[in-house]
Amino acid sequence: MDKPAPNISGIPEDELHALVDGRLAPEAAAQLRQRLAADPEAAATVAAWRTQREALRALYGPIAESPLPASLVAAAEHAQNLQSQAAQWWRWGGMAAAVVLAFGMGWFSSARWDLGPGGIASKGAGQARHFAQQAVVAHAVFQPEVRHPVEVTAAQQEHLVQWLSKRLGRPLKVPVLTAQGYELVGGRLLPGDEGARAQFMYQNAAGQRITLYLGALKPGSADANTTEFKFLQSGSVPGFYWVDHGFGYAIAGQLPRGALHDLASAVYAQL
């Protein structure tokens, strides 16, 4: 980059710019104007630049006052919504971390477990708890996802079911929640401590998303046959989870408890 042409008048050119752009303190500006009075060339430069400035502002200034095209407003609102979701992701990410902590602090103490001897019970309960915890984290991670909420979309449902059934080692069925207003978005495969996990995502007309998380629990664990619904309230991502014949299920979404329970019942009835 070559340097700007030296100012013949001796006044630093940066000061001339600052004067034209109104970036000088009042005293400094007044002083400079005095010097310009004795320097016709620099004064002419300043005058020309002022003319440019005024012409540009007069020409383009009104564009900022003109009505915005609806398409741009819509695009801006869309972008803003995504930003809120991105911000929510961070909040939920933080929340997910809080969930992990809370689990560690016996936050699930309200969950009732129909278990045998205490020692095994706590171990089994721990496994199911851990499963539910992973479900909540997976929900928090993928629910706000805009571009890739699922790996395989509902359009390829047959493939989705075959694939996840194979990976989870058991024939799966995708519950239909249309009666509750939810359509399948698709599904994805996730790693769990006990092996593969499947996550199905559903969305209603309002864009509300719920996820169903499922996978096999360790064979022979004490709660392998527990079928009771457990409600978990993490503050922001409530859900129900249950264990059925060695398989764990968790449904999570930002819904009232009653609505979630209806969904959980609908899923349970179909599986």
Binding site: E13, Y60, I63, E65, L72, A75, A76, A86
Partner: protein, 175 residues
């Protein structure tokens, strides 16, 4: 959060895009592209920081890369040269070169600095931030932009002597 509402930034973005591109369709396309880019880049915007500067940076980068792409498509003809060529016929008319046409003849990086400072009222520091260049470069580009614009404006004024007396008597009737 209200200070960071995207829709509140639209008027300024449109104004700048209009002056930068010199064309109202291209300008709104550029704003639209900027908003789309924002969608995919939100995670890079740190909430609470200067949304306006961030959006102007996105727009500037988009504009420059679109120009580069156009230049490649044009078989490496410099857009600036091309613009001068395309607009040369207009300047041969007796109309004075208006400021918008002169503005489009500036190199894009100079035009950007001039517009951010003059039209968008950014401080030199803000303009440097938006364009990701040192403040010294802002000052030198501003200087060159203003000098060049002045030359263009002054040279574009109607020169009656040229058209009235400089013209040969082309229609002299042959006997």
């Amino acid at each position: 959060m209200n200070r960071s509402l995207l829709v509140d930034q639209l008027p300024g973005l449109r104004r700048y895009a209009r002056a930068l591109t010199g064309n109202s369709w291209a300008a709104d396309d550029l704003v639209q592209d900027t908003l789309e880019r924002a969608c995919t880049k939100w995670q890079l915007w740190v909430a609470g920081t200067d949304l306006r500067a961030w959006l102007f940076t996105l727009m500037h980068n988009l504009y420059m890369s679109q120009r580069r792409a156009a230049r490649v498509a044009m078989n490496s003809v410099s857009i600036d040269e091309l613009e001068s060529e395309l607009q040369a016929p207009a300047s041969n008319s007796d109309d004075p070169l208006d400021i918008s046409r002169c503005l489009q003849r500036l190199p894009a990086d100079q035009r950007a600095v001039l517009l951010l400072v003059v039209l968008e009222d950014m401080s030199y520091k803000e303009a440097a931030k938006v364009l990701a260049i040192p403040i010294g470069t802002v000052m030198s580009r501003l200087s060159r932009a203003r000098s060049r614009l002045r030359e263009l404006m002054e040279s574009g004024r109607p020169a009656p002597s040229e058209s009235a007396t400089g013209q040969p008597p082309a229609l002299r009737r042959m006997k």
